[in-house]
């Protein structure tokens, strides 16, 4: 078991009648890329603001690097880098000046700072834009600048709150690769996102938040094993009769069937030969079929099953 970098115990935060965090418990260990998933309003950003001692909370405790974090815990804060959801840079400073400004809040030695700033520029792929003002940058470059400002001082803990919102696929890939690189260099990362595939791609540990509670946590494999669905099979079939659909539903491990416009979707719980059983049924009834393919559960399926709602645009 690694060293605990962040420990949240029984954290309760209310906004008047609304409970934003409801006895939240989370532990982030050293070296992890910890994904925080949840629909809008699930408490992800509130949890992050509590970790950063920006918000006061009603109950519970937040420890960072083993110590309770307070607004004036400067030694702890020096080891944290933050990439906020909204781009937070000076519009009137160039890319290089912005990174130098924020790096300088942590690093006083001029030579070291110069080196770190240069490394952050290279890391973010902003070499050709160092003298650009933020308003001249594209959305993706602006996000990269936002990240560079947050990580230039080489923090041990990096908190990224939806850093890829409104970013083109190329920039997103670059950002995700960068995050993995930072992790390989020794940084622990807390990553919140709306995008399941991102979390699935980079996070070693994941917690799913809903209504301020942690409803599930673990590795992606552990999360997938928690849900009923083991496999989703798609078959192209024409003129399938309702009684046949009912029969398919009765097959072993099948718990849900959907037939629409010639495409049959069959949800199966964990089982080794689900596809064989289904194809046997089609052969025995002499029902012709076209394309067949099988899907393993994704994090999105995990999320849907656990929270019962769409991740995006849900409140």
């Amino acid at each position: 078991m690694g060293k605990k970098v962040v420990e949240i115990e029984n954290l309760v935060k209310r906004y008047k009648e609304l409970i934003a965090l409801d006895h939240l418990n989370l532990t982030v260990e050293e070296g992890e890329i910890f994904g925080l998933l949840g629909p809008n309003g699930s408490g992800k950003t509130t949890a992050i603001n509590c970790i950063l001692a920006l918000l006061h909370f009603d109950k519970g405790s937040v420890k960072v690097f083993g110590e309770e974090i307070q607004p004036d815990s400067y030694e702890i804060k020096k080891q944290i880098g933050v990439v906020l959801q909204n781009v937070a840079v000076f519009e009137e400073l160039t890319v290089q000046e912005n990174i130098d400004y924020f790096c300088g809040l942590y690093i006083q030695d001029k030579r070291t700072r110069k080196k770190y700033v240069e490394e952050a520029i290279v890391f973010s792929g902003l070499e050709d834009f160092r003298n650009f003002y933020p308003k001249k940058l594209s959305g993706g470059l602006l996000r990269r600048l936002n990240i560079a400002c947050g990580i230039a001082h080489k923090p041990k803990l990096i908190i990224m709150d939806e850093p890829t919102v409104a970013v083109d696929p190329q920039s997103r890939n670059r950002i995700l690769e960068g995050i993995q690189k930072l992790n390989q260099q020794g940084a622990t990362i807390i990553y919140t996102s709306h995008y399941m595939e991102e979390v699935e791609q980079i996070c070693s540990q994941i917690a799913i938040l809903d209504k301020g509670r942690c409803v599930a946590s673990g590795t992606k494999e552990e999360l997938k094993s928690m849900i009923k669905m083991g496999e989703k099979i798609h078959l192209e079939v024409w003129n399938l009769q309702p009684f046949q659909i009912a029969e398919i539903k009765e097959l072993r491990h099948v718990y849900q069937v959907n037939y629409q416009e010639g495409m049959l979707e069959i949800w199966c719980s964990g089982g080794k030969h689900n596809l064989v059983h289904i194809l046997d049924y089609f052969n025995s009834r002499e029902i012709g079929f076209g394309r067949v393919y099988s899907e393993l559960p994704t994090l999105n399926d995990v999320f849907l099953e656990i929270t019962g709602k769409e991740l995006r645009d849900s409140v």
Binding site: L54, Y74, A88, F90, E92, E97, L105
Partner: protein, 382 residues
């Protein structure tokens, strides 16, 4: 660290076009428009220049008036007196070498009559007239008290002395009681108070619940006050420079006679700028409104303050002084205007220091109030 952050804050503000326009260019444009509108007045009356006047004294006439003129000439630099014969005085007036003639004639053995003859009626002639009126009023007062209540003459003399001092100030005030000049003082006050928007911008970058930029700075591993000081210092420096630049423009390009006591002028501008910036900062940290509403509030405070100090209406300052003196004593723009006024009008610094002291107290209240609000602050919501 301070100087690096100061440099960047300075760069930020110096590159902000809106800030440059409103805090530097706009006052210059407004000053130029004022000059177009009132230029003839200000050029005609060159302040701090002695008013040439001829003095004709008959034998046996009251010598006190001659003494008063001498005082006004030597101590107050108000008039330049030529004691001449009647014919010569009239000749000087015709040739416009003097602005008026004071005749001091002995009417009876114990009575004298002092009169003033002027060729045209403008501000300088009004000043000469007011000198005479005040002298006569004081003289008459003392005579009446001497007759009716001889035992109180000493006390009355002391009071009258005080009054004379005040009236002297007023008459000297009249010398530069150039109502048009008040517009320019108000304009400088407005320029100083434009620092409210700068102070508000500082607050926006300081409180984590107001902007993402502020949140990023607050969560840095350094006391947020160490980040705030350079910000405030940079904005104060820049705003101060802008106001000084505007004042220089008024003085050297438009030839508006703002004054010549540069040390005190700069001090007034500096304190005025501080007052504006801390007012804006206080609104930013203490008032719970959306940013746009705070900005509107700052502009409203600034404009109302300037309105009541006479930026838009001649004589407004006098009305407020008369009917709501308390407001006049705490109105930032009035305080700045009065500081300039008293600096350029009065010989003594009593009134100037009084205004500056009030501004210093206001700055202290706003600064302490702001820091109490933000000290060790965590937010209920962001």
């Amino acid at each position: 660290m301070f100087f690096r952050l100061y440099k960047y804050s300075l760069l930020c503000s110096a590159r902000e076009r809106l800030f440059i326009f409103w805090n530097l260019i706009f006052p210059i444009i407004l000053g130029s428009l004022f000059q177009i509108a009132f230029g003839s007045y200000t050029e005609k009356e060159v302040l701090f220049h002695k008013i040439p006047v001829a003095y004709v004294e008959e034998e046996g006439a009251d010598e006190n008036f001659a003494q008063l003129l001498k005082t006004l000439e030597t101590d107050n630099d108000l008039v330049q007196v030529q004691t001449v014969e009647k014919d010569e005085a009239e000749q000087l007036l015709r040739e416009e070498k003097v602005e008026g003639i004071f005749y001091n004639e002995a009417v009876k053995q114990t009575e004298t009559e002092i009169s003033l003859v002027v060729q045209e009626q403008d501000i300088n002639q009004s000043i000469l007239s007011s000198i005479l009126e005040q002298y006569e009023r004081t003289y008459a007062t003392l005579l009446t008290i001497g007759k009716e209540y001889p035992q109180g003459i000493q006390a009355a003399a002391a009071l009258v002395e005080e009054e004379i001092e005040y009236l002297e100030e007023s008459s000297i005030g009249a010398a530069s009681n150039n109502d048009m000049l008040n517009y320019f003082y108000s304009l400088i006050a407005m320029n100083c108070l434009m620092g409210t928007t700068t102070g508000l911008a500082c607050a926006m970058k300081f409180k984590a619940n107001l902007s993402a930029l502020a949140a990023r700075r607050v969560i840095a591993g350094v006391s947020r006050f160490r980040v705030l000081w350079p910000d405030l210092a940079a904005n104060i420096s820049l705003q101060f420079l802008y106001v000084v630049f505007s004042v220089c423009y008024l003085m050297f390009v438009l030839h508006v006679p703002i004054g010549d006591q540069w040390g005190f002028l700069l001090l007034t501008i500096f304190v005025g700028t501080l007052l504006g910036i801390f007012l804006g900062f206080f609104v930013g940290v203490a008032v719970r409104l959306p940013y746009n509403a705070k900005e509107a509030l700052c502009i409203l405070i600034m404009m109302v303050s300037c309105f009541f100090s006479g930026l838009m209406a001649d004589g407004m300052q006098r009305l407020i002084d008369r009917y709501v003196p308390v407001f006049s004593h705490i109105n930032p723009s009035s305080l700045i205007v009065k500081s300039f006024y008293s600096l350029n009008i009065y010989d003594t610094y009593g009134r100037y220091l009084e205004n500056m002291g009030t501004m210093a107290i206001l700055i202290l209240i706003l600064a302490v109030g702001s820091f109490v609000v933000v000290r060790r602050e965590r937010y209920a919501s962001i």
